[in-house]
Structures are given as C-alpha cells and as structure tokens.
C-alpha cells in the first residue's frame, strides 16, 4: 500500500459510523437551521435505525409497512382470482376485470384515488372482487359454445347482480391480457380503453319500450308497422323491418307489445319520434347505460351529457330507438339487472373490499346510492311481460338484438340480453377484428335468437344452478297507460 492509501485509510478511520448521528447533529444549530427538512428523519434514523427510515418513506410512522409485495385479487367467495406476477392466472379470461378493478379503486373519491397502478399491483393489497367463482365458471363454460365456430367470431358476456350492482361474472375474451370485448374502462391516464362497444340493434328496444311505458303509453297502443315516410329519414333510405307483425288484422298496425316482440324497426322508430329520442336515451341512461357512441364512434358520456344535448346537438338521432348507436355489454347487463330489481338501479361495480396489513382500506358503497327508479313496479311488470315471449318462461326475460351488416342478409352484431329475478345478463357475438357478416360454422347467418341466446340460456342456467339461486316468477302484466298516445295508429 502506498503511503497515500495508508494515510487516507487512517484519516477515514475517524469517520463517525452512520448510526451515531444524533448527538453530532443536535450539537450543530447551524446545521439544524439549514437542514430542517431532514432533521426529524435524521434524529429518528439515528435512534431507531433503518426500520424507521423505511417506515418514514412509507408514510407510516413507527412501523414497517405491512406485507408489501404482489397484490392478490380474490373472488367474492374466497377463491384466488389472480396474484400480480402470476402470468398464467393473469392470462385467464377472468383477469380481464383487472383493468376495471384498478380503474375503480383509483377513481376520484376513493381512498386510493390517483395511486399509480404499479403501486397497487406491488403494494401487497388484498382485493376482493365482486366476481363469484361459480358464476364465472358458468360464463366461461357457456362461452365454450364458441368453440368450433369460425375464428373471427368473438363472444362477450357479463352477469350483474340485481339490487347490489355487483358484477358476478365477466367474459370479454379468452385472454386475460388481451382485448376486452365486454366493456370499456378508464386507464391510469384517464383515457377510455377497451373494445366492448357494439351496435345493439333491436336489443336497445328494451329502453325504447321503457321510455314509452314511462310516458304513459300502453302495450296495447298500436303503431303503423308497414314502411312509410318517417321524420328524419330520406325517402330513398327508409327504415326497414326484418320481420312481420305477428297479429295485424288490418295489415297496417301493430301493437307496441308485438312490435317489440317481433323487433319491428318501423313502428319502434315512430314510437321514438313520439316519446322523444332524448327520453329514450334518458331511459337507457337511468337503467344503467353509461356510454353511447355516435355514428362516427365518438363517445358520449351519459353521466355528464344531457340526453337532450346528445340528441341533435351531438349526432344522436331518432335511430337511437332502434339501436343504431353502440353500447357496451357490461352496461347492457347492468341495465338488465336494474329491470330485474324492479326498476331500481344499483351502481355496477367490480370491487367489494381492498385490505392491506389487516386493515380495510376500501369498501363497496353498499347499499348503492339511491337513484330514481326507471319505471314504477306496474310498468316493470309490463316491460318484463313483453320480454318473456322470447324465452317461453315466466321467470326469464329475453330481448334479442340484430344489426344488419349493411345490405347483407347477415348481421355484424348479434345480441341476447335479459334477466331473471336473480341475474341481469348480456351476451354479444360479433367479429373479433373488422366488422364482417356473422356466419357460423355451417355458413348460416348468426341471429340474436340463435347462438347468443343459446349462450345466454346456458349462462343463466349454469350460474343459477352453481350458485343455488331460485329465480322467482315475474309479476303478471298490468297493461298500464293509454292505448292512444300521440303518434299512434290510427291517430
């Protein structure tokens, strides 16, 4: 060792070991004045050592932060859904809810508002979701009906619990880290992501009917169902039906009940014009539809935009009543749960609790904040009655939806939405990528009444059986309202 090294070593040996800082710093008033920001931490550090350093950093004075590490996500019935870092679990279909979970617990107003998602993923939290493992198994099993279908076909399905708004099961695709075809969510930066918006077609008529019932129109009111000149439509582009009225003795008019059951666009367009497109949109919003997309796929947030402004001002036209504007599968399931609960909306949500270190940091808002009912109980009974013809049962309401692929016979979007007293469900089948005519493995067009309804029935039966739920019979119809509202036939 050269002399310099030896001398430096000798000099260095007089350094004070780090842990003995307290006395030295207390003795230097000048230092305290210039380094006040550090002094409290310094004194604590010197006395207690690194444990306090760590807790000081974690903002939890006097104790080590409890269980940092990967966060674990649970089903509400206790099973583990996924642990962050476990790429196998995160790739399973149920893990598509992760984005919704993170979005929900870091939203404004939450105790974890604004927290970076990475901090949640690595913060050692225990997140209990609203998902029920039995319902989830049922929904994934039903999605298995897609096996053997052409590769471009994609299904999505969601179950929401009436009365609580809990999302019981979620299927947005087979890959938990892939595209989410069931919903949209706010990312960390506030952008809306997800591929869950699809044109609902005549499945949207549920809200048109709800708006009509709310306006005092009766199921027995009659409407012109054969093509005719209609407000806002050019003669060369009339609204067309894809079916016929099941009971039209005079050949021209069809009851509101039958028009909905047969999914007739022409009379439902007139009903929308009569009730007001803004009121139809408001009924959808009040049931639970949060976002709607216009013809240019611009998103409209019904939580902040007034329906009257959306109609006309923002490009939502009369066609809203026949389902031209896209909505998400999640929102439709949410709305079905509202009707299943007798018209009372409970905020749809994905998280029950968030805990860490034995402490509950976040809890679902239960009971859900009050919202004005969409319809009164008699009107709900009438609406439900209109939807039981499709199912053939008095404990299951179904509305199918089709949206034609341009002029093709086939559809680009096919839906089946509905409810029992126990579950609100929405199922969609469409194209995974670019929109194409939906053809099944046999080359036949896919209609809402076909594959989507098969999936819906399997979802409902599977989930109810697995969870031991017994749906109640629906209340019989009351036939509320007027048989001769404005715009109805004969006028």
């Amino acid at each position: 060792m050269t002399d310099l090294r030896r001398q430096l070593a000798g000099l260095a040996s007089h350094a004070r070991p780090y842990g003995n800082a307290a006395a030295a710093i207390r003795g230097d008033r000048r230092r305290r004045m210039t380094r006040q920001a550090l002094s409290a931490a310094t004194a604590a550090l010197a006395v207690a050592g690194t444990a306090t350093l760590v807790s000081h950093l974690g903002g939890m004075p006097g104790s080590l932060p409890a269980s940092e590490g990967p966060t674990t996500i649970y089903y509400s019935d206790g099973a583990v859904l996924a642990r962050f870092g476990d790429s196998d679990a995160l790739s399973r279909p149920a893990s598509l809810v992760v984005n919704h979970v993170l979005s929900e617990i870091t939203a404004e107003g939450s105790p974890l508002a604004g927290k970076p998602w990475s901090a949640v993923r690595e913060g050692g939290y225990e997140i209990v979701t609203t998902l029920d493992s039995r319902a989830q198994a049922a929904i994934e099993g039903a999605a298995g009906l897609m096996a053997g279908q052409p590769a471009n076909l994609q299904a999505a399905a969601v179950i929401v619990e009436p009365g609580s708004g809990r999302v019981l099961a979620y299927y947005g695709g087979a890959d938990g880290t892939g595209a989410d075809y069931a919903g949209v969510y706010a990312t960390e930066s506030g952008e809306i992501a997800g591929f869950g918006r699809h044109v609902p077609g005549d499945s949207f008529m549920v809200y048109t009917l709800a708006a009509a019932l709310d306006a005092g129109y009766s199921l027995d009111s009659r409407w012109l169902w054969t093509p005719h000149a209609q407000a806002g439509r050019r003669p060369e582009n009339p609204v067309r039906n894809t079916g016929t009225c099941p009971s039209s003795p005079d050949g021209h008019s069809c009851s509101l009940l039958d028009s909905v059951r047969a999914s007739l666009n022409v009379p439902l367009y007139d009903v929308t014009a009569s009730v007001g497109a803004a009121n139809v949109l408001a009924a959808a919003r009040d049931a639970g539809i949060g976002f709607i997309w216009d013809n240019d796929l611009h998103r409209i947030d019904l939580g902040t935009v007034d329906p009257a402004e959306a109609v006309g001002g923002l490009g939502i036209g009369m066609e809203v009543g026949i389902g031209q504007y896209a909505v998400t599968v999640l929102d439709q399931a949410y709305a079905m749960a509202t009707f299943a609960a007798g018209g009372r909306r409970a905020d749809a949500h994905f998280v029950v609790t968030v805990r860490r270190g034995g402490e509950t940091i976040y809890s679902e808002a239960m009971p859900s904040p009050d919202h004005p009912p969409v319809l009164n109980p008699e009107q709900v009974a009438d609406l439900t009655y209109a939807l039981t013809a499709e199912s053939g049962r008095n404990d299951l309401a179904i509305k199918t939806g089709d949206w034609r692929y341009f002029d093709a016979v086939a559809n680009s979007s096919a839906w089946s939405i509905g409810y029992t007293s126990a579950l609100g469900v929405a199922v969609w089948v469409g194209s995974a990528g670019e929109e194409r005519p939906l053809l099944d493995a046999d080359g036949a067009p896919i209609y809402g009444a076909g594959l989507p309804t098969q999936i819906l029935r399997r979802v409902v039966t599977g989930a109810q059986t697995a969870m031991g739920l017994q749906p109640k019979q629906f209340a019989p119809p009351v036939f509320t309202g007027s048989d001769n509202p404005p715009g109805s036939y004969p006028g």
Binding site: D3, L8, G10, R16, Y18, I25, R35, T42, G49, T50
Partner: protein, 174 residues
C-alpha cells in the same frame, strides 16, 4: 421480493465503510452524516431494483459522489476534534498529519477529490471509478494525475527519510 428485504442488513453491514467514504468526500462529520442519510433514502426508494441488479454498494457510492448539494460547495476548513488516545504512537503528529491531509483534500475541486477517494481509499479500478463518477476512463486518469500533483504541492512528505516511494511520483505508480 419484499419491498425492503435485505435493506436493513445491507446498511448494517456496509454503513461503516460507506460512512468513511462520505467523510473523506465531505471532509466534515455532519456533512458526511447528511450525505449518507440522503443517499440511503434514495437507495431505499429504489431498493428492490438496485438489490436485484446486484451491487447496492456501488449504487450508493455513485449517489454520494454525484450529490452536489452536500459537498461540492467549498467549505472553509473546520478544526479537527481531538482524537482519543488509542495507542502509544505519536498522536499529536498523527493529528497534525491528518489535519493536513484533510485540509489538502478539501482544497481539491470536487471531482479531483472524488477520484482520489475512489482510487486510493475505496480501491476501485479506473473503470469502476469512471462508472461511479459518470465520466470516461480518460477523465479519471487525467483528474487523478492533476489531483496527485496538487496534493504533493499541498503536503510535505510524511518522513523526510522516506521520500522515495512516500508519494507516487507519477500517476503510473499507483
């Protein structure tokens, strides 16, 4: 890995050696403690990543050397405290020598001081020194050369009889 797993153990094991580097860099006990503390806080903030990378000590050295706010400002030399009697050696002479060396170190510009401490106290290679300081190996060589020349100017040889070999007469000897 738990968020601060191994952190306390690392600090317990290495704080003495790192305190000494901090002391040589800053030339002052209080400043050395401040430097260690702020460097440890930063290390803790990145602990998992740094520990996974394998060399938290190098990371801590890098933080301390580059922490301008704490010691790059020139300070007037401070009087050294009395050192407790430890052995039969000539304590007074040692104290004087130490005072001189510390004063000489403090008189060096920060980067020259850093090179001296890293190469001749911490015994880092040229490459390791360059990585710690965030400069090139060539800069390390030239800064060391200049620093040694300056120190030789500031300090008399320790023992007149030990002149040859007491100080490296050229950088190449170290």
């Amino acid at each position: 890995m738990e968020r601060y797993e191994g952190f306390a153990e690392f600090v317990a094991a290495r704080q003495l050696a790192l305190s000494r580097i901090a002391y040589l860099l800053t030339g002052d006990h209080h400043a050395a403690q401040d430097l260690m503390q702020s460097a440890l806080v930063r290390l803790a903030g990145h602990w998992r990543r740094v520990a996974a990378g394998g060399d938290p000590e190098a990371y801590l050295r890098r933080i301390m050397v580059n922490e301008r706010n704490t010691w790059w400002r020139r300070r007037p030399p401070e009087p050294m405290e009395a050192v407790p009697d430890r052995s039969g050696r000539d304590e007074a002479a040692d104290a004087v020598a130490r005072a001189s060396l510390m004063a000489a170190l403090r008189a060096l510009p920060p980067r020259q001081r850093a090179v001296i401490v890293l190469r001749f106290y911490a015994d880092l290679s040229e490459a390791e020194t360059a990585r710690t300081m965030g400069c090139s190996v060539g800069t390390v060589k030239s800064q060391a050369h200049v620093a040694l020349a300056r120190l030789r100017q500031l300090l008399p040889p320790h023992d007149p009889a030990d002149q040859a070999g007491a100080w490296p007469t050229s950088y190449l000897e170290v």
